[in-house]
Symmetry: C2
Subunit: 189 residues, 2 copies
């Protein structure tokens, strides 16, 4: 009945993104183990947080690379990335919002690097007219993080279908809430 580290980390991430004030006992309960088991696997609370941060970075890198691989345009790539990030939205949130994460210079540097790469992609999407030029890149990234995490949270709470979460996030960010307009050229969807 040994617990896989990966399962423990996933459960820990889930618990902490839902409630950053959760104690190690709370986190352990969410993972189906006792607090002492967490200490055996990860050491201190700080050690656990750092490992969660590194794992989150890797997950986000993987999700972005897989999503953007063969997109037809930068805008399509960005939209695919948004949808791909929803299942790891808790990692995105963890990296951006949990203050303890920023204390580690290595983690902070890699988060900044990810944000630069996303920002470059936003620039390209603007150039091809997929994103309005007057929307600040910082806002685009902040809105993406917020909506991606909200979609994952809503799915986990059962408020939307898990299968719909990515699509709703992408649609909300690129089209907004309004009904889809009929396209000027070609058939309507």
């Amino acid at each position: 009945m040994s617990s896989e580290r990966g399962e423990l980390l996933d459960a820990a991430l889930r618990a902490l993104s839902a409630d950053p004030t959760a104690t190690l006992s709370d986190v352990a309960a969410a993972a189906g183990v006792r607090r002492v088991t967490l200490h055996r696997h990860f050491g201190s609370r700080d050690d656990l947080l750092r490992e969660l941060a590194l794992r989150s970075l890797a997950s986000m890198d993987a999700a972005c690379e897989a999503a953007a691989g063969n997109a037809a345009s930068y805008t399509a790539a960005l939209r695919a990335i948004v949808e791909a990030l929803v299942p790891v939205g808790d990692r995105f949130h963890f990296l951006w919002k949990l203050s303890a994460v920023w204390e580690d210079p290595q983690v902070a540097a890699r988060v900044a690097e990810q944000n630069r790469e996303l920002s470059v992609l936003v620039d390209h999407a603007k150039q091809e007219g997929g994103i309005a030029a007057d929307v600040p890149n910082a806002w685009v990234l902040a809105a993406v993080e917020a909506v991606v995490f909200a979609a994952l949270s809503a799915a986990r709470e059962g408020n939307i279908a898990v299968n719909d979460a990515g699509r709703l996030a992408g649609r909300t960010l690129f089209d907004g809430f309004r009904p889809a307009p009929k396209r000027r050229r070609g058939k309507s969807h």
Copy 2:
């Protein structure tokens, strides 16, 4: 040099929405006082959280009522509410996301009531075609909370202009990131 309770509460809300793990010493420092002064004004940490919740409820009620008062349509009213909620986005976030808030049945009931009222407004906006009918209400509310809080946070971090925050939030939610399309009827904007 007595501190106004309102100022203390605003600073506390700011600090706790930015970092829910903040200690009372952290919160006091953000408010420009010492921890013991917080105890004198509010009693325990739980007492402070409860007062923050009640104040947040009042702020959100006031913002929604002021914004929706004379809108031309339900969709315009909802958009006005979104823009009006940005300056109190930390209260919205506090009420929705900080788990300690939910433990108080009175607070939980009033939050649920606010959500119902917003949901009714969303229904009306759908009926007049301002929001796509196939977007779940739960998602509309979740996305509004996420984007409103992201806009306030981005403004406070200096990533977007404070004056732009409400408009960017409203625009992102209703129009998405894309450039504004030319309208089919009437002059383009």
